[in-house]
């Protein structure tokens, strides 16, 4: 371009420069407008939830179960919140140990071998499976044979989603740990498993906890896997088994209840749904900020 410019006359060069500068300015302005619009819409979405949901968060919201009577204004979201905690908690119990060890396998043992590469690709693929399909899968293997809905089936569906997430984040974090640490541990004569669990994981603790927490928070917001597994309930869980229990019957949960209430025409229920949405946003964003603050070395994804 400079070669061509040298051949041009001075006015032509000035015009060409002016044109390029004008284009640059136009693009910059458009970019600013576009970016501001995009960010503004996203901020608007969060703001909308905050504004509409703030009014719903009172004591009753956090202590009373979800309403059944459309003629009254009573009711809260308490059993749904507890239900989500239980379902997500059990899902984490299933997925975290398995996912962690799977990640250890990928990082420490399999590494670049053929099996490990295949497992890695499969994990990535499973992460992309739509959550409704996971819900159908959990329905087919748990709800249908046992002939009842259960919070446990919901946990299994959520665990399925969490498993590859945790495995991959574990692998990524463990890969960041310098080889020197591994070597010095092994050189001391410690067995492989002690080096991995005691030394490397301790070094990577921040990242691992971040990864696990973010995975838990992510599946806590899922609705589709719970549609045919945990269903919903207007009551508190009554223990573990039996038709009101965690393993025996439908369990109230935040996301399905929000889905039901926001699709209903009753203003009181809609308001409760906004409150539930606000609770989710606070939990999700809050946990994100928390783990970043506490474990700044943690990998973000």
């Amino acid at each position: 371009m400079s070669a061509v410019a040298k051949v041009r006359t001075a006015p032509a060069r000035r015009r060409s420069i002016a044109r390029r500068k004008a284009t640059d300015l136009v693009i910059k302005v458009l970019s600013w407008i576009g970016a501001t619009c995009g960010i503004a819409v996203m901020a608007f979405i969060v703001g909308e939830v905050v504004v509409r949901g703030a009014g719903a968060l009172n004591v009753a919201f956090f202590t009373q179960p979800t309403p059944q009577d459309v003629t009254s204004n009573a009711g809260g979201f308490a059993n749904a919140i507890v239900g989500t905690l239980a379902i997500t908690g059990v899902a984490a119990l299933i997925a975290i140990p398995m996912g962690f060890l799977g990640g250890v396998y990928l990082a420490e043992f399999g590494r670049n071998g053929r099996i490990a590469t295949a497992v890695r690709m499969i994990a990535n693929v499973v992460m992309g499976v739509p959550s409704i399909i996971v819900g159908v899968f959990a329905f087919a293997i748990i709800v249908k044979p046992l002939q009842h809905y259960s919070g446990f089936a919901g946990s299994v569906a959520l665990a399925f989603i969490m498993l590859p997430l945790i495995a991959r984040t574990t692998e990524d974090i463990l890969n960041l740990v310098p080889n020197e640490i591994r070597e010095s541990g092994l050189a001391m004569g410690a067995p492989r498993w002690k080096v991995t669990l005691g030394v490397i994981c301790k070094a990577a603790r921040g990242g691992l906890i971040t990864g696990a927490t973010l995975a838990i928070v992510r599946v806590a917001g899922e609705t589709a896997p719970l549609l045919f597994t945990a269903l919903s309930s207007p009551y508190w869980m009554t223990g573990l088994f039996g038709p009101g229990g965690f393993f025996g019957g439908p369990v109230a949960n935040l996301t399905k209840t929000i889905y039901d209430f926001s699709g209903s025409p009753y203003p009181h229920w809609q308001e409760l749904a906004w409150g539930g949405a606000l609770v989710i946003i606070i939990a999700v964003l809050g946990m994100n900020i928390l783990v970043r603050l506490l474990f700044q070395r943690g990998k973000e994804w």
Binding site: L101, G102, V119, V129, I133, F137, W274, E300
Partner: protein
Amino acid sequence: MSTVELEAPHNPGVPRGAAQAAARGHRLRLGDPIFRVVATACGLALAVAMFGLAGVLIYNSWPAISGLGTSVLTTVAWSPVNHQYGALAALAGTFLSTLVAMVIAVPLALVIALLLVELVHPAVARVVGTAIEMLAAIPSIIFGMVGIFVIVPFIQDKLVPWLLTTPLGGLPGIKPGPQFQGGGVSIFTGGVVLAFMVLPYITAVSRDVLKMVPQVTKEAGYGMGSTTWEVMHKISLRYANSGIVGAVFIGLGRALGETMAVAFLIGSLFTALPRSIFDPGTSIASLIALTFSEATDKIQVSALVELGLILFLITVVFQIIAQIWLRRVQRSTGGRA
């Protein structure tokens, strides 16, 4: 016991391992192999899970696959009451809504990413960037809610009536088709909400990829007298091409499988192809979500699972393509995309 291992007697000439193995006896010989086996088993569990999922899907959709054959892919209408099990309307809706989402999201994402990398103060870029990453974590049901209560009335009452008065309103694909119902719940609304769901992902990955463009190359461009835009599109974007395409594929994969936001907003019309983006339609994921719990007929359940299988295969193909692209980026830039 642990302290004994780490402070084993220091006998020069005798390999450490042997001395310690002898000292520890049987315990060492089991610890490591057990650990290895258990870890490998957990790693393989991932593969087992996926093949299990695929297997269950295939097994449960087999009656439909063998009974209906290719008619599922060639019939338009999903109307079990008329014994029609066509996925075409749902497939069309899935692709159209995803297309609308990409058309809105990709340029916005690129513009925001470029802005963050080139045009704003690094501190601002860091804050905004973190905010965008956190927005990626917001569950889809929330987008669905804001969609119904805010975006639907806006599109129905303000946007579509205005659009139809402009020349744009006569373009094919925008001009209302026979199924038009005001445009409030339509492919377009679904696509708009999908766009803002995938926007954070694409922005975050694009930003990371653009950050990896070597500073030297950009400075060389500036040194030659290029404007910011010229550096951006002749150098940065070309360099980050593959990475951005990979990011788009990731966003695409998410948009294809999205259920909850779309189910509320797309209109639930199962029986006709949309002629315009403002016509109502349906997507595979929302069709399954809305009709699965009431499917009584064996063939209907099986056909629904077959739809799930089709969606599964589509997302798998996109994931694999995305993987291959991203691996290419990794090799060419030497880092992690």
